[in-house]
């Protein structure tokens, strides 16, 4: 859901189609889609609002500040839960990868909770933590934590033994090896987990807001649903998509900067 255009992020290495032509095709596809939308709704099919009505609703919501308020409310929840999740997942993942004891103690829980979609925890979280911010942030935290902890752990266990030996014969002890070899070598794995974690955090926040919230993009859609306000639902959906896409792009840029040293076959 946060990656509606997977073709764009990995420019073909045999780029027989120049980047500009590719961008042109992408734009054309968007224009065609808008055209089709306009045609279908102009005929009154399915009673959906047309692009014009959605744009008008978007402008109204943007002018009166509601769009910004809702977006910020959702973003604040996601970022809090997501950052907490990653900040705790990375050290736990490192411990699991580095110490067999930690792995033995933590892994059953991680593997079990990984099979439960974070959304399924929402009812429990609401009952035990109320309807304030805490349950929502907790569920997002869980989503980000689970995907990042597994990725970090995988990263640590797949560090090339030869690199560790190379550091060892150069005189490095465990602490140095951990800091200067294990952490950088597992960064690409961690970034994969972080990216997946952000995607599932974003999905989770919207769902959580649909169920119990007084603000946010999910809450706005849920309100609009009560009043049959379809243009507002569309505006919220588009905002969710655009924000998700932006966050994903930021993670990709961070990943590129952090792992530019990787040898890509």
């Amino acid at each position: 859901m946060t990656d509606p255009m997977p073709g764009v992020e990995e420019p073909s290495r045999k780029s027989w189609a120049p980047a500009a032509a590719m961008l042109g095709l992408n734009l054309l596809a968007v224009l065609l889609g808008l055209g089709a939308w306009w045609l279908v709704t102009a005929e009154g099919v399915a009673g959906l609002p047309g692009p014009g009505a959605v744009l008008a609703a978007g402008i109204t919501l943007a002018r009166n500040g509601q769009l910004l308020t809702d977006s910020l409310a959702s973003l604040a929840r996601v970022l809090t839960g997501f950052l907490l999740g990653v900040m705790i997942a990375v050290p736990v993942g490192f411990l699991m990868g580095w110490y067999k004891i930690a792995r033995g103690l933590v892994e059953p829980y991680v593997q079990f909770f990984r099979t439960i979609p974070p959304l399924a925890v929402i009812p429990l979280a609401i009952v035990t933590m109320g309807i304030g911010e805490t349950p929502k942030i907790f569920v997002i935290f869980l989503a980000a934590f689970l995907s990042s902890v597994v990725a970090t752990f995988q990263g640590v266990v797949s560090v090339d033994r030869t690199l560790i030996n190379a550091a060892r014969v150069l005189g490095a002890k465990d602490a140095t090896i951990f800091r200067r070899v294990v952490i950088p070598a597992s960064t690409p794995f961690i970034m994969v987990g972080v990216r997946i974690g952000l995607g599932s955090s974003w999905a989770t926040v919207v769902a959580a807001e649909l169920i119990a919230a007084q603000s946010g993009l999910g809450f706005r859609m849920q309100q609009a649903q009560l009043y049959y306000d379809l243009p507002t639902i569309f505006v919220s959906l588009i905002a969710i998509g655009v924000l998700g896409l932006l966050m994903d792009r930021i993670i990709i840029a961070a990943d590129r900067a952090l792992t530019a040293w990787q040898e890509k076959a």
């Binding site: 030996n165 190379a166 014969v169 950088p184 792992t259 040293w261 990787q262």
Partner: protein
């Protein structure tokens, strides 16, 4: 004169699950003199890498011991540099940062570190690539960087585990000459493992031939060619005779 490295009855058994196991190295004994260039050649499974890993301190012997300057090897140490077949460069560090790694671990000041690193980078001919990441280097350049990195911490001994094994024949010959040049300028005791008979004879002052099942020392062939070794020597009758002798004992250990 006391040996620089002394393998004394070193055996190593690897346990396979279910009570099985195999003897990778059987009572291996060898003395290496200070400044000597020893090559070790043998088929796979002859225990040559096992012997080297034990000397490096990366593997413990099941019995016997390895002495370096009369002290028993107990774990890895910067006085024994190791060069791996897979280069083992840190891919997130530039050539210079790789070479500085061991110096940094040793707590050397940044300016001094750079000076030492640049000296060894120049010695292996990589000055123009000091700020490049390993991914931009060819296999031969990566291995030269690894050699500079091993040299930088000033080891007394260099342990080289098939360092040129993954390179093409032309690059390999070039690197052999370059390694001997570096070695003549920065003399160290070298234990060089290879599966290439020509390489073993061309580089070593003695060739240690090993045999498999169980891995053991089969024969020691002294190479009476003087250093510096030249292309002329490589093509000489004396070289060919030695090469044939080593070849026979590697491939037909039962008769030779």
């Amino acid at each position: 004169m006391r040996p620089k490295i002394s393998f004394q009855d070193v055996s190593r058994r690897f346990d396979l699950g279910g009570g099985g196991g195999f003897l990778a190295l059987d009572r291996f004994s060898l003395d290496v003199a200070d400044g000597e260039f020893i090559t070790v050649v043998g088929p796979s499974g002859c225990g040559k890498s096992t012997a080297m890993n034990i000397a490096a301190g990366l593997l413990r012997p099941s019995s016997g011991r390895v002495l370096v300057d009369d002290a028993e090897v107990d774990g890895p140490g910067p006085e024994r540099g190791v060069i791996f077949q897979q280069y083992a460069l840190f891919p997130w560090l530039t050539v210079r940062e790789n070479v500085e790694f061991g110096l940094r671990v040793a707590g050397m000041a940044a300016r001094k570190r750079r000076e030492v690193a640049d000296h060894f980078i120049a010695l292996v001919g990589l000055s123009d690539f000091a700020d490049s990441l390993p991914k931009t280097l060819s296999g031969g350049m990566k291995q030269r960087c690894a050699i500079a990195r091993a040299y930088a911490v000033n080891p007394k001994i260099l342990l080289m585990d098939e360092p040129f094994g993954a390179l093409d024949a032309l690059t390999r010959v070039n690197l052999q000459d370059q390694l001997l040049r570096t070695w003549s300028q920065e003399r160290r005791t070298v234990l060089f493992i290879t599966h290439d008979v020509d390489e073993a004879v061309y580089l070593g002052s003695r060739v240690i031939v090993m045999a498999a099942r169980p891995g053991r020392l089969h024969k020691v062939v002294p190479v009476d060619l003087p250093y510096p070794r030249t292309e002329e020597m490589r093509l000489s009758a004396g070289f060919t005779a030695l090469r044939n002798e080593v070849w026979r004992s590697v491939y037909h250990p039962a008769e030779h």
